[in-house]
């Protein structure tokens, strides 16, 4: 097991190095962009004294490298700084917006897993037949359709023409006013259920379907394609033929022996797509006015609220790097060949 430990250590160190560079690059970029943090902090009509006070308070009178060291020191203590506009701790903001994002991202990935595995394995079975071609076209479409375009089209069709789903937001206005959801987990669909708020539950489900589906199109395509190609490969393996020759039941062969081996790479890919969506879902969030981390980030960028931008970047990086690390370690643990690379 010693080699596993070394592997794990190596990966941790690598992760920290990645993190360090991401922080540094983001810090430098957000500080060389022309903007006026002091003005943002005190407002456009502030007096000269207020402006100077803010410059001191924010440390803007110091050279960039001192600001950088200061930022790092605070970071180590878990302090991501304060938003320039809202004067609230960035970490607090991130944790406030995270649940909304997690809710659609998790739902999207569950959808992707179920639909992707089903499509992928069916397609593998029907290899080169009509159904296979159809699914392959769909999955290529899924990975290549720009999400913002697809989001607008679903809004047009399902809200504009059919009127089946609401346009945007997490809840309707009247539900928010008269049946507000009491936050427990921050997932409205779950919170409304456990607090017995059926009206809000129905409403939140109606609101989440479109954005979650749009967000799922890419991973659906991804999982379908991976499962299909792995399944085709696995089904040609000798052990499957052997199983068949021995008269094992088909269900057993496909569910237990074939799919299990075919699904692992797809799960890994899905894990990364999940981590990416935490901050990468912003296009979908903005179009659906979904009050998540993506929308928060966009606003921070538009205002050049650099502590917020840095905070989200660092948070997103940590999330991505550690999910990646977790998946790799899991794989290494399961498959000793990986460790040796």
């Amino acid at each position: 097991m010693a080699s596993f430990k070394t592997y794990f250590l190596k990966r941790i160190i690598l992760a920290l190095v990645v993190l360090y560079f991401v922080i540094t690059i983001t810090f430098v970029l957000s500080h060389v962009v022309p903007s006026d943090p002091a003005e943002l902090y005190v407002g456009p009509k502030a007096t000269a004294e207020q402006r100077e006070k803010a410059i001191k308070e924010l440390g803007l009178d110091q050279p960039l490298y001192i600001q950088y060291i200061r930022y790092f020191k605070n970071l180590v203590n878990g302090d991501l700084g304060k938003s320039l506009r809202a004067h609230t701790p960035v970490l607090h903001d991130i944790l406030t917006y995270l649940p909304a994002t997690l809710e659609i991202v998790i739902l999207a990935n569950i959808l992707a897993l179920i639909i992707g595995v089903a499509f992928g394995s069916y397609s593998a079975l029907k290899k080169d037949m009509f159904a296979d071609h159809l699914i392959r076209v769909i999955s290529v479409g899924g990975v290549s359709i720009p999400s913002f375009w697809f989001a607008l089209i679903t809004q047009l069709v399902f809200f504009g023409i059919l009127g089946i789903f609401p346009l945007d937001g997490r809840l309707s206005s009247d539900v928010q006013l008269f049946n507000p959801v009491h936050t427990v987990t921050g997932f409205f669909t779950i919170d409304s259920l456990i607090t017995g708020n059926i009206v809000a539950f129905v409403d939140s489900v109606r609101h989440i379907i479109l954005p979650a589906f749009v967000l799922a199109t890419y991973p659906i395509g991804l999982v379908t394609r991976m499962v299909r190609s792995m399944m085709v490969e696995v089904l040609n393996e000798n052990y499957i033929r052997f199983a068949k020759a021995n008269g094992f039941r088909d269900n057993l062969i496909y569910y237990k022996y074939a799919l299990k081996n075919a699904i692992t790479p797809a799960l890994m890919a899905l894990g990364l797509s999940f981590a990416y969506s935490i901050t990468g879902a912003f296009l979908v969030e903005v179009i659906f006015s979904w009050p998540g981390l993506g929308t928060y980030t966009v606003n921070a960028i538009l205002e050049n609220d650099y502590p917020a931008i840095l905070g989200v970047t660092i948070f997103g990086t940590i999330f991505y790097v550690f999910i990646n690390l977790f998946l790799d370690t899991l794989q290494a643990y399961l498959d000793p060949r990986v460790r040796l690379q």
Binding site: E49, A86, A118, Y122, S289
Partner: protein, 536 residues
């Protein structure tokens, strides 16, 4: 042949599950649609689709658009009723006020029986603590209290302000920024209190309490049962204020009835809405104007004749008609129309190229032959269009206008450097913090040791004296003060220190079912929800 027919069936089971999931989701959606719960009557609630978010709900700091929320949750000592031009100051938390003859001592008598949202009664000590906190923190609009030396709570219902110099304290106390009275439930540590406010807590006396604050997205307000004006009659009990940045989305919301009130739609959309029977367009002066500050220290424009000439060359009517679709008026001096200190008899430059040419000839440039630079903020469509229309006019006089699109920071950096190297004309907006002509006249044209907003670099001691004196008299002898303000404005208009371009309107769009709504220009884009009611 690798697969048997039966194995195909096995796999297709998985596919069936997949298809089933898609069908179930689609079915669920349709089901939910057709079995939609009956909507509760909207009579008691209202949705306001606002343009931006409310970054800081700390009443002592808030200086962006938070008054939209705060004016419904908190109250100030004095209310500014902009529709009553002759006597705009009306009692709010203070029932009456008076000042010593020299204007250095102001006494406010508090309303009795006013309760804060935590149930405690409004006392002089709270007023003192609230304003002292604002002053102490020195953020946002805290400077409006600059004249205050000391605040005394003489007894439970009397607050006395001792001033360093005379100032119109009743007007200051009606400010939409930095004058809200917070109550004893405010945490005593200032920074902790800011965090407390930004968690969606409040400590006001207003008709509504903040029920839920989702920073960046929306605020839910709910009625405060023990509000001192009571709840008899028609009132709105719950309000949702949403931040909808995209104008198309605001248009959709008001058309679909999702929002009852919204604002700031592009003029093309307004044309469309004019024919909509369910919607009403209400416009009111905004107290916000667009200025083109002219550099009085730079070559060419340091000559007053040139400044006057280019003031005559601006196509005022064309801009208002074509760019603003009539939702603005040509400025008459620096104070916007409808505001205290605006005079309809003030001199105004009109679009007159002949007159401009004449003045240029007098100045020694009969055929122009020089270049002026103009800076504007990148991304500002109005400023951009104004600049381009102006360029075409100046060309007719032989003057080349070099238009520079700059970020706010770069624009100000250039303008705050050496005036002789700075731009000739700078486009920007101004609006008052509290309603006083001094805000405009001081910030824009008073002599400055270091350039802050006087981008005309207009240094005129006669002018300075006029407005400084007027400001000190404003609280004690308003008529005399207004006279001096008039004189000062004539001076600055005559000196053509700026292009006085246009005074903007606030354009609110309401559902026809909303009744009793009239915008109050002193409280920018605020809807006083308590005053209006909505038909079911």
């Amino acid at each position: 042949m690798i697969y048997s027919n039966t194995s195909r069936k096995a796999i297709s089971k998985i596919a069936i599950i997949g298809i089933a999931v898609v069908v179930i989701i689609a079915g669920l959606g349709t089901y939910l649609y057709y079995t939609q719960f009956s909507k509760p009557s909207l009579k008691s609630s209202l949705v306001y689709a606002y343009v931006s978010d409310f970054p800081d709900l700390d009443p002592s700091i808030a200086f962006e658009d938070e008054q939209v929320i705060l004016a419904n949750v908190y109250e100030a000592l004095v209310f500014y009723n902009s529709s009553n031009t002759n006597n705009p100051l009306t009692p709010w938390l203070a029932t009456s006020w008076s000042h010593s003859p020299d204007g250095l001592e102001w006494t406010f008598n508090l309303r009795k029986g006013v309760l804060f949202h935590d149930g405690s009664e409004l006392k002089a000590s709270s007023v003192k603590a609230a304003i002292e906190r604002t002053i102490r923190m020195g953020l946002g609009a805290a400077y409006i209290w600059d004249a205050v030396k000391e605040i005394q709570a003489s007894d439970d219902y009397t607050v006395k302000f001792i001033l360093k110099y005379p100032a119109p304290l009743a007007q200051i106390a009606s400010s939409q920024y930095g004058a809200w009275i917070t109550g004893p439930s405010t945490p005593s540590n200032d920074t902790e209190a800011t965090e407390w406010f930004n968690q969606g807590k409040d400590s006001g006396t207003g008709p509504y309490m903040i029920e839920k604050y989702e920073a960046g997205f929306q605020v839910v307000l709910t009625k405060f049962d023990k509000y001192w004006k009571g709840w008899s009659g028609n009132h709105v009990e719950k309000v949702l204020v949403k931040s909808v940045r995209d104008p198309t989305a605001r248009l959709q919301a008001i058309k679909a009835g999702e929002a009852d009130i919204t604002l700031d739609l592009p003029v093309d959309y307004l044309k469309e809405l004019k024919t909509n029977e369910n919607v009403e367009i209400i416009s009111a002066p905004s107290y916000r104007n667009l200025l083109g500050m002219i550099n009085t220290k730079q070559e060419y424009t340091n000559n007053v004749l040139v400044r006057q000439a280019i003031s005559y060359a601006f196509p005022y009517d064309a801009v208002i008609k074509n760019v603003m679709q009539g939702y603005a008026t040509q400025s008459r001096g620096p104070i916007p129309v409808g505001m205290l200190g605006h005079f309809e008899d003030l001199t105004q430059y009109t679009y007159n190229l002949e007159k401009a040419k004449q003045l240029l000839t007098q100045a020694g440039y009969p055929n122009g032959g020089f270049t002026l630079t103009l800076t504007y903020t990148s991304g500002d469509e109005l400023e951009k269009q104004v600049a381009e229309l102006y360029k075409a006019e100046l060309e007719k006089l032989g003057i080349t206008l070099e238009i520079k699109e700059m970020t706010t920071k770069a624009k100000y950096a250039l303008a705050r450097g050496d005036p002789t190297q700075a731009q000739h004309i700078l486009l920007f907006y101004w609006w008052p913090t509290y309603i006083t002509p001094y805000d405009f006249l001081y910030s824009l044209f008073h002599t400055e040791k270091k350039v802050i907003f006087n981008f005309a670099y207009y240094y005129n001691s006669t002018y300075d004296d006029l407005i400084d004196t007027a400001s000190q008299l404003e609280g004690t002898d308003l008529n005399k003060a207004l006279q001096l303000y008039h004189q000062a404005q004539e001076q600055v208009v005559d000196d053509a220190a700026s292009l006085f371009i246009l005074d903007m309107d606030t354009i609110m769009i309401t559902n026809k079912k909303v009744h009793n709504f009239s915008p109050n220009s002193a409280y920018t884009e605020v809807v006083f929800f308590y005053d209006i009611w909505v038909e079911a």
